[in-house]
Chain length 625, copies 2
């Protein structure tokens, strides 16, 4: 049987294969964050012609079902079929906004004056071929040539030596050797060897972002991102750790995240016609739990008091230890972690923010699933985690999505008509709402009197935009081609909880280090918000502190930025280790004051309006204006 895609492409499908599998096998990649289990509801496609049956319709709406929408992973054709794959279901590799941001990063790196020094260093080596009068072993010959150029005491893994003999002869004893710190020889290439590629990966609890980097010139070749399929075992790190403790759970979680990474990698290298063997190094950054899970280490003790990770500084292990589909010998550098709830993603963030180089005080806030804060300067760094939750990455929000093409990233609401004006990533048709869009939406609804200080809809407003959905009242943000985008009261509760956790963390940590908000010279905001975050609105929301606006810098996804820097430079890796070594972790979760601060922050912007003087003025002016 055959599948005709609206683009004109024709695929085949095997017996007992679902549409998602058939697509994947033939190089058509859909979003499927649950891995094809019918849970995430992301692999929506529309069947315009042909017979089929579906095992489950998951979270589809009745109007979607009526128009022929099905979940590809649950659908089995019974005849030749024709399908449309809507944009939001296509796996977007190489987001426009990510690439443009990364070119900024590259400029940052180049202007730093740091030398390009990836994990693998290459040396040309001419080896004397053996003769009957000089037939010492291949390895002894190679060591002799290395010694002649001053490289001694190298180690050689079983994996390297398994293929060395044939590689030496294929290259006619005229080779390039790749070695890593150890020192250990890891690669052997013909002397005509071209510069290779590296991967920087941010393994977030909710989102995985992968950069494919050309290590010859440090340029970004492509970007891929996807939801972390571990989401199907739970939204936060705690539920993942609990699942890891079940029989086989640890292996399953490791396999899930590594499979996501392999699935991101494959279309990227195919698109750029890069050989898998041309990838020579990988850097990962993730929180401590994600890092443990990637390496198959039980994160169980992170969860139990006294919250102790197995390790924070990871050896340079090889790709095959994790199951990543690159060469077995490829070294993986793990950005070091600090403590159970402050991981390599935060260290990468500090690295990208340069706060560890500045004498003034910086407050760094990483608004991801966990929400981490760092305060400090070039002398000291103090950090804490505050469990914000994954909503700003789109998870747990009805029409939430990551900041990729089609996401509503900015909103203004007309105070008279309540009609929203939307900014959409890629200027395309809106398909969901990302973190910055949520912040804008909730703040605009508050300022236009649609919701109250608790994030509840104010009764008696006459607009068709507020309506009853199947989860309770909701606000209609956009309606396009029969697909509505709404923000529900439940969504807003989640957002309030997330922002309250962040603010409570900041508030408490500033006090813990004996400072006030006025002592902060610079506030760096990190998070997967794409190109845009409206600082003003985030202050009105009460997520960011109400301090002079010129102090704020929005840095985007600093976990991937730091990983990218570590992929490029030895100095950056050394700085990352210095940062991790010197950062002091404060356990907020054991503090009763944290709960008090959190409850106080569950308002728009806060129960204590003295902390938000400019918002107070704004609201006063509005009220009487």
């Amino acid at each position: 049987m055959h599948i005709r895609i609206a683009s004109g492409k024709i695929l085949d499908i095997r017996k007992d294969e679902n549409l998602l599998q058939a697509f994947k096998r033939q190089g058509v990649y859909l979003v499927a964050s649950c891995g094809g289990k019918g849970i995430c509801g992301k692999c929506r496609i529309r069947i315009s012609k042909g017979e089929f049956h579906t095992a489950s319709r998951g979270k589809l709406h009745s109007h979607e079902i009526e128009s022929g929408v099905v979940l590809a992973c649950q659908t089995f054709p019974e005849s030749d079929i024709s399908v449309d794959i809507p944009k939001e279901s296509q796996l977007v590799v190489g987001d426009v906004c990510e690439i443009s941001r990364t070119n900024d990063l590259l400029e940052t790196f180049r202007s730093s004056g740091k030398t390009l020094s990836p994990l693998v260093k290459w040396v040309p080596l001419e080896i004397t071929p053996p003769t009957i009068d000089d037939n010492v072993s291949d390895l002894e010959r190679l060591k002799k040539s290395l010694k002649a150029i001053g490289l001694q005491n190298m180690s050689f893994s079983h994996g390297f030596l398994s293929t060395m003999a044939a590689e030496l002869r294929d290259a006619r004893w005229n080779v390039h050797l790749g070695y890593i710190d150890g020192p250990e020889v890891v690669f052997l290439a013909p002397s005509a060897h071209k510069a290779a590629y590296g991967l920087a990966v941010d393994i977030g609890t909710t989102t995985i972002v992968m950069y494919l980097v050309n290590l010859a010139d440090s340029s970004l070749v492509d970007v891929g991102s996807t939801y972390n399929s571990q989401i199907r075992y739970g939204d936060d790190v705690i539920t993942r750790m609990m699942y890891a403790a079940e029989t086989g759970g640890l292996n399953e979680l490791q396999d899930t995240v590594v499979t996501d990474m392999n699935n991101l990698l494959t279309p990227m290298i195919e698109r750029h016609a890069i050989e898998r063997g041309d990838i020579e190094s990988v850097v990962i950054s993730g929180n401590t739990t994600m890092t443990h899970l990637f390496w198959g280490l039980n994160p169980g003790y992170i969860r139990e008091e006294p919250y102790t990770p197995t390790l924070n500084f990871f050896p340079l292990w090889k790709a095959n230890a994790a199951g990543l589909h690159v060469g077995k010998q490829v070294p993986i550098y793990t950005v070091p972690c600090v403590a159970s709830y402050v991981g390599g993603d935060v260290v990468a963030g500090v690295l990208a923010s340069h706060m560890h180089k500045k004498s003034g005080i910086t407050l760094f806030m990483d608004i991801g699933t966990n929400g981490e804060i760092v305060i400090g300067n070039n002398e000291w760094l103090v950090t804490a985690a505050c469990s914000a939750g994954p909503c700003f990455e789109g998870s747990g929000i009805r029409h939430g999505m990551r900041a990729t093409e089609g996401a509503v990233e900015s909103i203004t609401i007309d105070p008279r008509t309540f009609a929203p004006t939307l900014g959409i990533i890629g200027n395309s048709i809106p398909i969901g709402i990302c973190g910055s869009g949520m912040i804008d939406a909730i703040t605009e609804m508050f300022l236009t009197g649609v919701i109250d200080q608790k994030g509840k809809f104010i009764r008696g407003i006459t607009t068709t935009r507020i309506r009853d959905g199947f989860e309770g009242p909701e606000f209609l943000i956009s309606s396009n081609e029969g697909r509505d985008i709404v923000l529900t009261e439940v969504d807003m509760e989640n957002i309030l909880r997330a922002k309250a956790a962040m603010y409570a963390g900041v508030s408490l940590l500033v006090k813990k280090v004996g400072l006030t908000l006025n002592d902060i010279d610079r506030i760096c905001i990190a998070g997967g918000f794409g190109n845009y975050l409206n600082i003003e609105k985030a202050i009105v929301l009460g997520m960011l502190p109400d301090v002079p606006r010129e102090k704020f810098r929005f840095l985007g996804n600093t976990a991937i930025a730091g990983a990218y820097f570590c992929l490029l430079s030895q100095e950056m890796r050394e700085e990352a280790e210095e940062i991790a070594g010197k950062m002091t972790n404060v356990e907020l979760s054991v503090s009763r004051r944290f709960m008090d601060e959190y409850v106080s922050a569950l308002f728009l912007p806060h129960t204590d309006m003295r902390q938000f003087p400019t918002v107070k003025t704004l609201l006063k002016n509005k009220r009487y204006g």
Copy 2:
């Protein structure tokens, strides 16, 4: 269905399971060097009662078939059956002669004054348990405690760290750490940890011998030996190398030899109730091809001029790199090799012979499948290989067997009646003939006029002992319980070729180093001959040079002896490396003179009788006596 064994034991058998599989599953181990493929014909058993069918009768004789003998691996019961398992089919673990020899070895080691220093060194370590105020990672805590006792810069593998967190807590932070040179921490045991075990393994082309050693007191716990199942791909290293070049061949050969080792190990640890996890280190010695195959390295370039191995000095790799069924982290020390045809078995032999410590000149001859020779003293060592073939280990000889219980190891023949008097290992019923028995038999047949100088039967001798078998004329050595043991003319051709290769090698190498046989102070003979080798008869055969008898020492299997020493002692491992580093290899195979010497030696004892003055006298006295 059930199987009743003559010993009284009752086993069950599953559907589609052959008898060999049913036996093995229930702890009854048979000899099955082909791995149960019906090729080797070693797993003979007799079915005394019950219905069955057999897939193949392999090499069984018609009289065996008539008496109910079947190959266990080819036989499937169709009712309850009763079976006899003859002694020669039982897998003999812990040969009496091997154990007695090894106790001599142990005395040798103890009297050497060398300290017991296995690969893994253990230190007790008390680690401060984490608290909420001091919750740095497990690894940082462990490193801190190591630093306090002066152990720094240790590395830690992914395998070690995968289980460390749970092990630390199980042991309540009070542990014993095992580390190896690197330095690398490899094991963590509770503080009540008892001394563990080690394996020394001689991986011969024909025979594999394994010692299970108690590392607390260096004593031998058990010995196992088996044919190397790689035999099914060919008798010699050349055919194995050719097979390794075929698709999948390398993996298959590696898997075969590792499976043999796993099959030797399992009954040994079960018999002594030793946990698999109590095995902490392994030493292997083998020729260069066997060593490459064990590690899954393509030995192909060994065979092609200029005969270059991939490596001779092997890193301390872990058991999981080879697939050996001991702990993944167990280090395997590989006795270093010298050249393509002079391997770690020869280095182990030199080590065991102490020739590298003596100022006088020693000639060392290892009479195994390949046949290696070393000449030298404490200043220099020269070595050569001479492709003797596997016949002295029983392979390629009609009733050949290894020197284990039931083997005919010595023979005298009455010059009048031609009746042989046999010495049998273990004083039991003869079941085959081992190397020393072959040497005795052929020499006695020569001296009593049964065969001529070319090893052919002399016509016109009236004895029923010489008869026509299905391979041509043969001599009946023993007839017992319906099972005859014979030596055929084809067998004798093989033996002559083997001894000629050895003698030609000695003759040429002595000349190459500018000496004569008279300059040799000591001749050490190694080989799997059990306890016995009649030097006098080996000289008459023309295998050993005709020099004063007091110069000869018979050392037995020195490959396993050297491996055992390396398992026990760091100094021995260092000596092995010195030996391998200083030995000079001479390629005899490229010398035309070798072929001349070989052809001259294809006689009893030699075409040039001047080289065998005492044999000449003996024959003269006989002839005219």
